[in-house]
Symmetry: C2
Subunit: 383 residues, 2 copies
């Protein structure tokens, strides 16, 4: 198994790109990653995407992107793992390089959500839940997360306002990221005044609907010096699953797939949570930040809110999360988010995160979650 | 890069499974493959599927199947490459084993098409074409193939009836396959009497809408003896792409992605077309059989019809194709077909194809094509 490095990164601004197509966004990110590396050669393309069929009327997405980027006859395949698609595509690309089948491999995460109105997007996102036993009964994806949040608040006697620091942190960091969608800082008061979406989840608990694409170019670590950029090593890449239906789990507040993928990743990278300098958390909803921090070993059960209250998740804290805005602040183009996270960890480890830089960052973790914790992909990157 | 073997196979009957879900079909195939091998351990699952979102309201499909098959916390990812998804999933699984990341990996191809009426399925299948420049103008997937067929008939002065032997061959072979959907033999007369779908393509030029799932269990070749079944080695696995839009190609009758993936596969396996004992062709339409046989080096340009006319594609011929019915006779549950092809090559190489057995088969090829030749996955298997 060959070691794999990230030698180039690219991303579009996350926004409502009314005037652009999914193809166009993906190509921008792909070409930027190639240009960043200064490497022309690409042997294969893995496109992480959840909903191109439902939202854009387009399957067969990977050859479409490859063609528009001028890449054929290379291999090109789409990877779907719900909201974890962007992380899963990087993992597929890493395995292709590790196997020796390919040397230079692009992973592009892309989602174009604004081609449909919000109710259409809500229906499409519900496809991450169990169609027969959850979505078929009318429960939306935000409603599932609302039930989790309510249960957490009940079990651990937490108040809704205690979740505010996660949103405040994400927006504060997004304000320093030129690629982020929501660059305005928000206060605890803004959070409390925010309209309810699905009780207790309000607008500022939730990552917004948007468009974007991010890309990484991978190469064997031994050949990474060919890049003009400092290579970042993929020290760990792991994926695990749990039931899709929440009702099937012994305890819905224990996200076992997240715990399993994190445990595998720590073992591969030979690190522990305390060694991680920054953690790109899948903060699709504030409750998801809480559950994944606990499952990944950064806080005991029921205590992740304290981590936020004490400021430990800030850029200056001991476990900075969502350092360039996270899903909440940067925006959450679902199938792209996992790739954005990895691009952002690379920015941090290269020391290129600008005003959002985590000082001296050497080890960064990115975790992409699909469904309500039904699939998790964890990467640990290292310089 | 480790050598990879297929140690177990499983498949459902291809049919209109009105009473069964996509989950149910996938699980049947997965469990059969595990049972066939007599191996309990599964480290990862790759699900090949094109349209679960559009047809079944279900994304996040791989964790759903993994859960229903009792497999979590294993890695589980969906692979989409239009109608080549089933072949691409086997390739993803093979890379995962080759890399050393996993040892025992399941690839399951599945499609459940009968949850929608035919017009809904036609719209969904058009997502294999270019949404902006083809499907958006109202051209259906069968219409694209009809234009190719018309052009072929014009360029090479071919008559429609000359395509009949492909359908006759597929149905003759399907009649000997208990898993096939269309087990009734058809004659050239039946073919000529068949109603037009999109001129010149008629019903008997076309693979039908249906449901099914097929699975293979892979392992490192060095550990394949743990299976209770004779292992079949994956001698080659290759994928290539071309433009999605037909209008972008210099010559739409030259399927370059097919040619490239076949060439790569021959090189990996160190064989030539003449060494191949049987070839599972992607006969979604008769014109596709013709174009892929020519692109893969079994016939010169404009001469594949002769191959069929001379009976060389029959079980007793020198290049038997669609030996267990192909997409036309067995049925074409789109994302599953590529996996069915590989299961069938394994049946042949093990000598378990019953009345459809190709005598003394040692080298078999399976080729799965997505879109109108925009992506092709070619496998060569060997005993």
């Amino acid at each position: 198994m060959r070691d794999v490095s990230i030698i180039g990164i690219g991303q579009t601004v996350v926004a409502e790109h009314w005037d652009r197509s999914i193809r166009d966004l993906a190509v921008e990110a792909a070409l930027k990653a190639r240009q960043d590396a200064g490497v022309e050669r690409v042997d294969a393309l893995y496109v992480g995407n959840m909903l191109s069929g439902e939202l854009n009327g387009q399957e067969n997405l990977a050859p479409l992107v490859a063609d528009a980027a001028g890449l054929p006859p290379i291999e090109a395949i789409k990877i779907e793992a719900a909201c974890a698609s962007g992380g899963a595509a990087v993992r597929a690309a890493a395995l292709a390089v590790a196997s020796g089948a390919h040397d230079y491999v692009l992973a592009v995460g892309v989602e174009k959500m604004t081609d449909l109105l919000t109710d259409g997007v809500t229906s499409a996102l519900a496809m991450a839940a169990d169609a027969d036993y959850e979505a078929g009964h009318g429960v939306s994806f935000v409603a599932l997360n609302a039930m989790l949040m309510r249960r957490y608040m009940h079990d651990f006697k937490a108040k809704h306002e205690e979740f505010a620091p996660f949103t405040v942190n994400s927006h504060r960091n997004a304000a320093r990221n030129p690629y982020a969608m929501y660059r305005q800082p928000v206060t605890v008061e803004d959070f409390l005044d925010s309209p309810i979406v699905s009780d207790p989840i309000n607008i500022l608990d939730s990552a917004g609907i948007c468009d974007g694409a991010a890309a990484v170019l991978l190469a064997p670590a031994a050949e990474a010096r060919r890049s003009r950029r400092p290579p970042v090593r993929i020290a760990a890449s792991a994926c695990a699953t749990d039931t899709v239906g929440l009702a099937e789990r012994a305890d819905p507040l224990v996200w076992q797939a997240v715990a399993d993928s994190a445990r595998l990743a720590y073992r591969q990278a030979k690190v522990q949570p305390k060694d991680v300098d920054l953690f790109e958390v899948h903060d699709a909803f504030t409750i998801v930040s809480v559950l994944t921090l606990e499952a990944s070993g950064f806080a005991d059960r029921g205590s992740a809110l304290k981590l936020a209250a004490e400021g430990r998740i800030a850029l200056e804290g001991d476990i900075p999360i969502c350092t360039l805005g996270g899903l909440k602040g940067r925006g959450h183009p679902v199938g792209a988010s996992g790739t954005y996270q990895i691009v952002e960890v690379v920015q941090q480890l290269r020391g290129e995160a600008g005003a959002a830089q985590v000082k001296g960052a050497k080890i960064g973790m990115a975790q992409s979650v699909g469904g309500s914790g039904s699939v998790a992909v964890t990467h640990i990157l290292q310089v």
